[in-house]
């Protein structure tokens, strides 16, 4: 090595040739740098996203020891579902049974409620009821109040700084009251603590935490084993106790559970750090900004691919252009350069190019981050406090990329023999050409694979958006009903609203008929008895008509029949699950006693996401538990109707701020995360194809330059432009064909797996695959023919004078 640096002058002269080389073939240099720069930009953006996703919930100091209890519910049909809610008695029972468990906490995230203090009124959607142990388990930073006692008494609430400022401005909030208009009546909660705003990269969000014991009076659904309605978290003494606790859980369940109620129920512990990314199959959970490990993996793969494609460009172009530099290498060796020095120098050169690309990519990242982040619904939180490790990491990546891209060309270039100088000219070696073909094929294969995946994702998403849901989502306006008072106004609201001729129907109920709670029902008498877990939906008269759902048998609730308060409507899946021939008139029994009669069967409709199959559903007539006022508008005069709804609402409920939305917006939001992945996937695969084409462009340009003499001779001998284009593209056609053969099976394997995640999915046809191949081929040919035609058009006389 010392001789290497002895030659500072050698090094400088070497730099000179590099820079003069660059200015002599700017386009190739540009392609190399641009490809790597695009690669680094995409890579950095994706890494920012991936790091954010992987760091969810890790700010909790005890994150390694915190677990969420998940229930495995097995229906008699053999179906298994996972739910993130548990019985209220489970947490305390676990704690008293297991010495390994240091603490447990139960949370009840509350639906949006109207809160006020003095004349400040807000709808709150992050109110959570919790045991006082919440502060032992999750990491909070108290600004005011006593962490240990804050939630000991009923009607206590701890709020975050932002909320404190909203209600109390600059005053000290401790001891002040916030009134909550909840289902159970209007109640004043005393502020006992103020905490720093909870971090955003948490699967839980809070801005108000109220004491759980407020809700635990005698007939409360939040005590005992009968209901399944609280989220339970466990803190272990030591992380390594996980196995031993998990092992003993079946036995614990067998001895502690009232058997008749929850037959076949199992529980397991889900590590806190897994909740954000590995909860796709878990129902009834309140994951804020839920992530998906598949998306994280897919994007990481894409980041890798884009950089890899850029590296391939680098290797291909450098080896292809090597004939130009072979003479330089030969002369340097002749004059006494060691082979190894040349290798260092060429690797050094590629590392320098890699760093130049990295440097250029940083402002690009800065520029694209806001757009990228808004596509990810703002989930990337860039902290500028501690950028150094991140930047060092990027430098390490640039170094590795420089090495990977440079090592082969370096050995290849430095292997030119100076003895060949005497032979006049350097033929390009067969080995180099074969490698170039392999790498180019690989590039095409990656591009085709990504395009195939993208096409399939787009088709599947369109399939989902266009699939009939079983109800009419267009023109359905909804207003949340957040308390008893507003619910009591349903009849009068309906009466008043229907006076507008453009309002076609008014009812109340669940937004998509989904039901947010589970109930247990059984069938009395012989043959019945088996317990079913069903979704419960509480609706008002006219719900089925207003939503545009279809009754397949019997009828829906009617105001004319008083007995309908003890009737239910079920969906087809429910009717089928009991294999009734004639469901009308059959009786079902709820866990706490009353018996209901089935008066109608409703055609299955989809709720939530088309990833999931339809569950058995029972609809009760229960206006007091309706969550939304639903208004079907005619397509004409919408804005005046909305105005009319607003005046009517304000007149009847002056203390309730008017808010509304449309069902179609709500549904679009449901598919939001899939939409966002779809957009990004399209964008990224376009970038990948772009990078691949960049390389192809450079290679063709080089080939055309090399063959300009041949082209000239052929033209003199009478070849047409078409002949020339064909001659130059024949090889590419073959490479694309081989790439298709390699890419299609891989794409098929992964996309079939992805589609299996959907309950309703498209079928994969050969056409999908062929079209992706054709698309990539067309893009490649466009890139190619631009230069081929140019070469074909050029004056042969000029070409022959070349050299």
């Amino acid at each position: 090595m010392k001789t290497f640096w002895k030659g500072r002058g050698v090094f400088r002269s070497y730099l000179k040739t590099i820079f003069r080389n660059i200015s002599g073939s700017k386009i190739y240099f540009f392609i190399n740098v641009a490809g790597l720069c695009i690669g680094f930009t995409i890579f950095t953006l994706i890494v920012l996203y991936v790091l954010n996703e992987l760091n969810y919930d890790t700010f909790n100091k005890k994150a390694d020891r915190i677990y969420r209890v998940v229930e495995l519910q097995k229906s008699p049909g053999g179906q298994v579902q996972r739910v993130a809610i548990t019985m209220p008695a489970l947490g305390p029972a676990l704690q008293s049974e297991f010495p390994e468990i240091a603490s447990t906490v139960r949370l009840i995230p509350w639906p949006t409620v109207l809160c006020h203090s003095g004349d400040r009124r807000f709808y709150e959607n992050k109110l959570t009821f919790a045991d006082s142990t919440i502060f032992d388990i999750f990491t909070f930073h108290f600004i005011e109040g006593n962490e240990a006692k804050a939630l000991n008494d009923p009607y206590s609430v701890v709020i975050d700084q932002t909320t404190a400022a909203r209600y109390f401005g600059k005053q000290n909030p401790i001891g002040k009251f916030i009134t909550v208009d909840a289902d159970f009546g209007q109640n004043a909660f005393q502020v006992t603590g103020v905490v720093q705003d909870f971090p955003r990269n948490s699967h839980l969000t809070f801005n108000m935490i109220a004491s759980l014991n407020t809700l635990q009076n005698k007939n409360s659904p939040f005590i005992g084993w009968a209901d399944n309605d609280v989220v339970t978290y466990i803190l272990l003494n030591r992380a390594n106790r996980f196995e031993s606790v998990q092992r003993k859980l079946p036995e614990f369940m067998a001895t502690n559970l009232p058997t008749d109620l929850w037959k076949g129920l199992e529980i397991y512990m889900q590590p806190l750090k897994d909740i954000h990314l590995y909860s796709g199959e878990i129902l009834y959970q309140v994951n804020h900004n839920m992530g998906n490990i598949d998306t994280v993996r897919l994007f990481s793969l894409i980041a890798f691919f884009v950089i890899f494609l850029a590296c391939i460009n680098f290797v291909n172009l450098t080896t292809a252009r090597s004939t130009i530099r072979a003479r330089e290498v030969g002369i340097r060796k002749l004059l006494g350069s060691y082979h190894s020095h040349l290798i260092y120098q060429f690797i050094g050169e590629s590392i320098v190019i890699s760093f130049v690309a990295l440097l250029l990519s940083l402002p690009l990242v800065e520029a694209f981050l806001p757009t990228f982040n808004s596509m990810m619904r703002g989930r990337i939180i860039v902290s500028y406090d501690n950028q150094l490790p991140f930047l060092l990491g990027l430098c390490a990546v640039a170094l590795v990329v420089g090495l990977v891209a440079g090592i082969y060309p370096a050995f290849y270039l430095s292997s030119f023999r100076s003895a060949d100088l005497l032979k006049g000219r350097f033929g390009s070696s067969k080995r180099g050409i074969l490698l170039r073909k392999i790498l180019t094929t690989l590039q095409f294969a990656i591009a085709i694979g990504l395009v195939t995946a993208t096409i399939i994702v787009i088709m599947q998403m369109n399939f989902i958006y266009d699939k009939p849901l079983g109800f009419n989502k267009r023109g359905l306006m909804y207003i949340p009903l957040r308390d008893t008072k507003s619910r009591s106004k349903i009849p009068v609201l309906r009466e008043k609203l229907l006076e507008d001729p453009n309002i076609l129907a008014v009812s109340a109920g669940e937004l998509t008929g989904s039901g947010t709670t589970q109930g247990k029902i059984s069938v009395p008498g012989p043959g019945g008895g088996s317990l079913r877990i069903v979704r419960e939906s509480f609706v008002d008269y006219g719900y089925v008509q207003t939503m545009g759902m279809k009754i397949v048998e019997g009828r829906s609730f009617s105001r004319d029949r008083l007995s309908d308060s003890s009737s239910v409507v079920v969906n087809e899946t429910m009717a089928n699950s009991f294999s009734w021939k004639d469901p009308i008139g059959k009786k079902i029994e709820t866990a706490n006693g009353p018996t209901f009669m089935i008066i109608g069967v409703i055609k299955d409709f989809n709720y939530f996401s088309l990833r999931e199959k339809v569950d058995p559903l029972v609809m009760w007539l229960h206006p007091n538990r309706c969550q939304y006022l639903l208004i079907r508008l005619a397509s004409r005069g919408r804005s005046s109707s909305i105005r009319y709804v607003k005046t009517t609402w304000n007149a009847l409920l002056p203390s309730h701020p008017f808010e509304y939305s449309f069902l179609s917006n709500y549904l679009d939001k449901q598919y939001g995360s899939e939409r966002e992945s779809e957009h990004l996937l399209i964008m990224f695969s376009l970038v990948a194809v772009l990078v691949a084409c960049l390389g192809l462009f450079g290679l063709t340009m080089h080939t055309t330059e090399q063959r300009i003499k041949e082209i000239g001779i052929r033209k003199v001998l009478g070849a047409s432009i078409a002949d020339i284009v064909l001659m130059l593209s024949r090889e590419t056609i073959w490479l694309v064909l081989i790439a298709c053969m390699a890419a299609w099976p891989v794409a098929y394997y992964f996309m079939a797996r992805w589609l299996n995640g959907f309950a309703y999915r498209i079928d994969l046809t050969p056409l999908t695959f062929i079209s992706s191949g054709v698309l990539v081929f067309t893009i490649a040919m466009l890139t190619l023919s631009f230069q081929a035609i140019n070469a074909g058009l050029s004056n042969p006389a000029k070409a022959l004078r070349y050299e």
């Binding site: 060796k333 006494g336 100076s418």
Partner: protein, 234 residues
């Protein structure tokens, strides 16, 4: 200076073996001007690559400065070559991205000579070869004769003891060819050993010895008593 004993060079390309040099014995003393001639394909270039330590023989011994060099490592050969041997080619082989000055300076950089001294050495040799005015030109901006003079300058700038030239006049017209021959002869008079491959009997007559190759064999060695000299020319 140079002694070859039973030297043999065989090229293998796949199944085909070509004997480029079959059993050559040769001795070149310091200060000689040797011309190597022979028909195309007779092994002249091959012989020169071996003499220049660019390639190693298949069999036989090669003593360069009394050191057996046929089995040396590439590194060691590079060291020897750097200090002692200069090359001149038919197609000049200058680095296109470097100016005339920088091309000539290159061997000095590899020798690790200090920059002030380098400058003096380069300027001296440019002066001697009358190319000083062209020092900032790139090879593409020079005529063939000028390029070859730059190449000769590069071959001797580090006071190399041997110049190996493969048809240095091959790409030049007669006037430029003469001029290059004149340069080589003058360098030889200053004590540099010159080994030159040429097709032309005219140029071969500048040497004081002609070695003839045929099919890889040294067939004839003529000592030319009546060697032409620079003084004679002018």
């Amino acid at each position: 200076m140079i002694r070859l004993y039973n030297l043999r060079k065989i090229y293998r390309t796949g199944q085909v073996e070509t004997t480029a040099i079959a059993n050559a014995n040769l001795r070149i003393d310091p200060g000689e001007f040797v011309a190597i001639t022979g028909p195309s394909g007779s092994g002249k270039t091959t012989l020169l690559t071996i003499l220049g330590l660019l390639d190693s023989p298949t069999e036989g011994q090669y003593y360069f400065l009394d050191e057996e060099v046929s089995k040396l490592t590439e590194k060691r050969r590079a060291d020897l070559r750097r200090r002692n041997i200069g090359f001149v080619f038919q197609n000049f082989n200058l680095i296109n991205q470097l100016t005339a000055y920088e091309n000539i300076e290159l061997p000095l950089l590899h020798m690790g000579i200090a920059s002030s001294q380098r400058k003096d050495m380069v300027m001296a040799v440019m002066d001697k070869l009358r190319i000083t005015t062209r020092r900032n030109h790139y090879p593409q901006q020079l005529s063939g004769g000028q390029q070859q003079r730059v190449a000769v300058a590069r071959a001797v700038v580090g006071n190399q003891r041997v110049i190996l030239a493969d048809e240095p006049t091959g790409n030049l017209d007669s006037r430029n060819g003469e001029e290059v021959m004149e340069l080589l002869a003058r360098l030889n008079e200053d004590g540099t050993t010159v080994v030159m491959v040429t097709h032309s009997t005219e140029y071969a007559s500048w040497a004081n010895r002609v070695v003839q190759l045929f099919d890889g064999h040294v067939t004839n060695e003529n000592i030319l008593e009546g060697k032409r000299s620079v003084s004679e020319l002018s």
